[in-house]
């Protein structure tokens, strides 16, 4: 356990060094936030029908999404990819650690370090200047924090599947393209999930991806009332367990067929 914790904290501190990149990231995210808010503003001005989410809530949703964007796994871990391609993955197998939890620890750091660097400035700026509302109540703030912690685990359990899939060199390329695309749209970062057509809502509610963004955000703004907390957090937890079990299963299958080139 201590070993895994050391892996997480070492990698976390290493990734915190990329500060110039983080400043660039903050500027970029602010731009996207502005763009999204303007587009939604134009849509809301064009229709008088009551929508499933108010414009004020959408603004908060957009800025939370920009602040916590780094939680979404967009690219596979290139170091793991190189390890697999070059055969260095053999060294990972010699270590007296479980490979799944070793890589999972890396993922936890990969998700949290850039989020730490980028979220705080975006949070502060958008709350001061760009209409990000504070949480509706103490209870909803509490729900948000619980749900964000689970979101980190959920996101890691998805991105590790992308990394593992690279063991299948050809189909892995496809998985590492398509899975992030699916997470991208079904987490709510492009448009808030309640704005999708009513007929697809049951599917969105079933899939794990809303647990990365939509669930914590709606808890934050009270769009999911705090008394629903156990339900939605339970949904996140169940999917974390399923995805970890699945990840471990495909990792074992991958290791069985893995051939390491000597030399």
């Amino acid at each position: 356990m201590i070993a895994y914790w050391t892996v997480i904290s070492a990698r976390y501190r290493m990734l915190l060094q990329y500060r110039a990149a983080a400043i660039a990231g903050v500027v970029t995210q602010l731009f996207w936030g502005f763009l999204r808010v303007m587009i939604f503003d134009a849509f809301y001005r064009s229709s008088t029908i009551t929508q499933p989410m108010s414009f004020e809530n959408v603004i908060t949703y957009v800025w939370l999404g920009q602040a916590l964007l780094a939680l979404i796994p967009l690219r596979p871990d290139y170091e793991i990819r190189n390890m697999i391609l070059k055969g260095n993955v053999a060294y990972e197998l010699i270590r007296p650690l479980n490979l799944y939890w070793l890589w999972f620890s890396r993922e936890l750091a990969n998700r949290t370090a850039p989020t730490t660097l980028r979220s705080i400035p975006i949070f502060i700026l958008s709350m001061l200047f760009f209409d990000l509302q504070p949480p509706t109540s103490l209870l909803s703030a509490f729900g948000f924090i619980i749900s964000i912690i689970l979101a980190i685990f959920l996101s890691s359990s998805i991105s590790i599947i992308v990394n593992i899939s690279l063991m299948w060199t050809i189909s892995g390329e496809g998985v590492s393209q398509i899975l992030p695309a699916i997470v991208w749209i079904f987490s709510g970062i492009i448009i808030p999930l309640p704005l999708f057509p009513d007929c697809v809502q049951p599917i969105l509610n079933f899939l794990p991806f809303r647990g990365i963004m939509d669930t914590p955000f709606r808890l934050y703004m009270g769009h999911i009332p705090p008394d629903q907390l156990l339900n939605v957090v339970g949904h996140q937890l169940i999917w974390i367990v399923i995805l970890i079990a699945f990840g471990r299963w495909i990792l074992n299958r991958g290791l069985k067929r893995l051939v390491i080139q000597g030399g």
Binding site: A20, A21, I23, A24, G25, V27, T28, F31, W32, F34, L35, M38, I39, A42, F43, Y44, R45, S46, S47, I49, Q51, T169, I170, S171, E173, G174, Q177, I178, A181, I182, W184, I185, I190, I191, L195, F196, P197
Partner: protein, 267 residues
């Protein structure tokens, strides 16, 4: 000059042949690209299901703006890969070698790599463009066809120019290049919707500083036959794409300044 063009196409051929060696992976990535951008359009469709229209524009009209900009942006990504990854050459010092060769740096970098996988996005943009023009029942006269091709070409020039600027920046710093994404990806995303839905300062930025409006908004208005809600005269759309070519020439000038400023890492 003629020799340079010949060389450029030779580079293109080699790159294509190289990438086709991994055919399955190549096809997989094209499908992945297509799927990802297709899903993005589904999101826009969903918003129209909820709201009906955006400042008087229908989904199909927006789709025309969207398709056109995606085709030119994706084609520019196919062509500008060498500049996009140029920061790595500065870091490793590989750029020194190019300076020794008796050909222009622009030709050598542009010919270094072609990002064929982006054709997934080109395909998606083209399909949406064709769909929109069928539903809008556009009367395709010869001059309109020329204008569309002209706008796509000019759009490629603008996005290509932006990537050249990004590469030029790397003579000074190789960190923080991510900011340029707001202009390339951000510019493309902005042009997915007609420009008049945005606030004034934002419209001005993408008209006068980064002139994307000249290769997308103005010509598309002419093609789909709508007057500009912002009140610009309609002849503007017929000639505005020229700005795209001028922009590219200017960025090459800036590039040359950067090259003169270059100091090798020595490694």
């Amino acid at each position: 000059m003629l020799n340079s063009i010949k060389l450029y196409f030779r580079f293109l051929e080699i790159s294509l042949r190289g990438q086709m060696q991994y055919r399955a992976s190549f096809i997989m990535q094209i499908i992945g690209q297509f799927f990802m951008t297709f899903i993005e359009f589904v999101a826009i469709w969903s918003l129209f299901q909820r709201f009906g229209s955006i400042k008087g524009w229908t989904l199909v009209e927006v789709a025309f703006f969207y398709g056109l900009v995606n085709v030119s942006f994706a084609l520019s990504e196919v062509l500008s890969r060498g500049f996009d990854t140029f920061a790595g050459m500065v870091k490793s010092g590989d750029f020194d070698r190019l300076l020794l060769r008796p050909r222009s740096t622009v030709l050598q970098i542009a010919g270094k790599e072609f990002h064929m996988r982006r054709f997934g996005r080109v395909l998606q943009g083209a399909i949406i463009l064709v769909w929109a023009s069928i539903v809008l029942n556009i009367n395709w006269t010869v001059d309109k066809i020329i204008l569309v091709l002209f706008s796509i070409l000019a759009g490629i020039c603008i996005f290509f120019g932006l990537i050249v600027l990004q590469a030029t920046l790397s003579f000074w710093t190789i960190e923080s290049l991510e900011i340029m994404n707001t202009l390339t990806y951000g510019g493309a995303e902005t042009s997915h919707y007609p420009l008049n839905i945005y606030r004034k300062w934002f419209r001005r930025f993408f008209t006068y500083i980064i002139p994307i409006a000249f290769v997308n908004y103005f010509p598309v208005l002419v093609i789909i036959g709508k007057p500009d809600p912002l009140g610009t005269p309609s002849w503007l759309g017929w000639i505005s794409p020229i700005v795209g070519f001028v922009f590219l020439v200017v960025t090459f000038r800036i590039w040359n300044i950067g090259v003169r400023h270059y100091k090798s890492t020595g490694s």
